[in-house]
């Protein structure tokens, strides 16, 4: 079977002016949303606070849970439906009070108030402000170091800074877009989401490397062609693989999204966004950056000599 005919020659690189506009727009939208929301929407993991997941065996309306929380005196508590019908997530972001005592108080009071509804406390997470700050710092290090790791690896493998740079710019694009999507859909930035961000970083660079590898090979074969044409041929030659791999991964991620349950839902959503962005950025970000570098930096240096 052939998905992509071998003589396919889409002019990917030639459209870089338009795609640059699209990229700029998406990036601005993402950054704008993050700024508009006053930064990332840090979950309990990073902000510190309390998260309690409860389930009732009988039908109950969310307003009843909200009322119960108000009775306890936690006005800042956010209550949201979670997964199944009678399941809710209560979230309190607070960094001042003794969280452990507060969580105990809430649990006891809820059990008391819903005595006849068979309340089940399914999950409790209490993260102190210090731990949250620690995790935030670690998260930053992890993302930063992975950027650095990828930059060094790609630059070393391809013996050229421009390739490393192209890969990294694509990665930064993916991470911003993913954070932006989280911000637009008002999803939380949790530890699990961080795990996905790092996976996306690995996956996106993986995609980029496949194309760069082909470029390197074609550079030897087609000495007369200019770099732009070689990039375009390479993207086309690997297009079948790009679509197939992204397709299979997308398939399983969609399955996680629909069947993985509510806890894993944010995980799957983030992956979907990152996957789309990662595939896009390989073609429309990483390659143009390398070309740009060659036009403006490498060529100039040659001329000077």
């Amino acid at each position: 079977m052939e998905l992509i005919r071998p003589d396919t020659r889409f002019d990917f690189i030639g459209k870089k002016k338009y795609t640059a506009c699209i990229s700029a727009f998406v990036l601005l939208l993402s950054l704008g949303s993050i700024l508009f929301h006053g930064g990332l929407n840090y979950g309990v993991d990073f902000a510190g606070g309390i998260l309690i997941q409860i389930r009732f065996s009988k039908r109950i309306h969310i307003s009843e849970v909200r009322e119960a929380m108000e009775k306890i005196g936690s006005k800042e508590a956010m209550v949201q439906a979670f997964g199944g019908e009678n399941e809710f997530l209560i979230r309190i972001e607070k960094t001042q009070e003794d969280l452990e005592t507060m969580s105990k108080k809430i649990q006891l009071s809820l059990q008391e108030q819903f005595k006849d509804r068979a309340l089940e406390i399914r999950r409790v997470e209490v993260v102190g402000p210090k731990v949250g700050k620690d995790l935030k710092r670690k998260a930053l290090w992890a993302v930063g170091l992975s950027f650095l790791g990828m930059l060094i690896y790609v630059a070393w493998r391809f013996r050229e800074v421009s390739y490393g740079l192209g890969g990294i710019v694509a990665l930064i694009h993916d991470v911003i877009v993913t954070y932006g999507a989280l911000s637009i859909t008002n999803r939380e930035y949790s530890l699990t989401v961080l795990a996905v961000i790092l996976t996306i970083i690995g996956f996106s660079i993986n995609d980029t490397i496949v194309i760069f590898d082909r470029v390197r090979e074609n550079l030897k074969k087609m000495r007369k062609e200019n770099l732009e044409t070689i990039f375009n041929i390479s993207v086309n030659e690997t297009l079948g693989r790009t679509i197939l791999t992204s397709g299979t991964v997308m398939m399983v991620v969609l399955i996680l999204f629909f069947f993985g349950g509510p806890v894993i839902n944010d995980f799957a959503f983030t992956l979907i966004v990152g996957l789309v962005s990662g595939t896009y950025s390989t073609v429309y970000i990483a390659s143009p950056v390398v070309l740009f570098w060659h036009h403006h930096v490498t060529e100039k240096r040659k001329r000077r000599k």
Partner: protein, 532 residues
Amino acid sequence: MLRSLNLRFFLYAGITVFAILLFLPTLTTELPTWYYKVIPTEKIHLGLDLQGGMHLVLEVEAEKAVESYVERIKNNLKDDLKDKGVPVGKIEREKTDRIIMEVSGEKARWEKVLSDRYPMLQELSSTPLEKGIWRIGLVLDSKQADHIRKNAIDQALETIRNRVDQFGVSEPEITLQGVDRILVQLPGIKDPQRAVRLIGQTALLEFKLVDDEADLEEALKGNIPEGDIILYQRVVDPKTGGVKKIPYLLKEKTLMTGDVLKDARVALDSQFHEPYVALEFDDIGAKLFEQITGANVKKRLAIILDNNVYSAPVIQERISGGRAQITGRFDTKEASDLAIVLRAGALPSPVKIIEERTVGPSLGQDSIRKGIISILISAVLVVAFMIFYYRVSGMIADIALILNVVLVLAALAIFRATLTLPGIAGLVLSIGMAVDANILIHERIKEELRWGKTVRAAIDQGYHRAFVTIIDSNLTTLIAGILLYQFGTGPVRGFAVTLCIGILANIFTAVYVTRLVFDFLTLKLGVKRLSI
């Protein structure tokens, strides 16, 4: 070439069989006992988010241990100076590790007391005030302070371990994290709040005399006599549930603490059938208790736990034999928990719970069910897709894919790694990514065939060319995975583990195992047209 084909076949088959054997205990518990002796593996360890349980991070407030040490030194110093005839005025602890005192008389005298008996104190300042009074500032030696802090943390770890052991949790994990944090993991715990109480309680047991000579009413107004303190007894009204606080005026000096305890057990009152905690002291404690009770007959002795007065019975006579009891209105559970914490000993300094994650067992089961469903659906879809798109070659890739999953599970079993919910997600993800290597190879082989190469040459070239790319792309993901492991905690680490193992297994199955099958087809069966 053929010989090496056989060799490879047996090698890979051996690895596969071994992996299945490692993984078998996870699937069924009905294996003969000899099996476990031969195969060094257990059931795959499930994370707390899957099997339910509690994850606690405690911070040891080691500064408090330094504080109470300096407080003790201060009291001793005061007594010693008085003994040696040095007039002492004000003597107070300042901040954590400093003592400020006002003394008068001959300078040599107090300096001798300090240098002879208190080498751990360093003189910071000495300023003459009026009338031959000196104000001396002392500070605890920083090495000594560090030592106390370290001891406090070690002892806290030990004590919490003891308490958890006596509480009866299967496979608890209690480890030091960083400098002053203790990680406690309690799988499958039923009553998390009780566990929190049991672990977090300082459990400092003290015996102090009630000051019956001074006026309690006066003291409550703020005129507390020197050397006295006010502590409260909490009495819960069984009918209304309201808490009443009864004040006690006590001598500040602690006569005895819980570290002389040998045993603590729950017993039942023969008259009222109320549970109480029976204490038994060790030899030193028994002697001390005899002395104290002997010297204070007809006075009241308060039994205090963590600054709460439990009871304050009148000492009727000298008590020998080293036994005492704590009464109070507990239920049996409370009494048995109290006995546990007393037996395990007090924490040298308070601990604070800075992180708690509890997952109920039903949520964990839900997650496992949904995880398995996701794995099965995605496996079926990917397998079907590969056959649909690549025909026979797709089947070969599918063999590699299934083997990949088996290898990851076997690796989890043998390394005793923990499978978490994000870990399952990682497994699902690696099913999607595992076929990437085969797609790369197959696409390449197709290209080579298109360029007119023979089947053999195309396979050779396909693998050769794709290999570099596969290594490059997998290594980068591996870098991300390792960083994730380094900086992640708990469930996220589980994800990093499955991701990394998945990548390594993938290189083996997708590159080497499939190559063997292709070689078998072309060399042994002489296949001339490739179904790809």
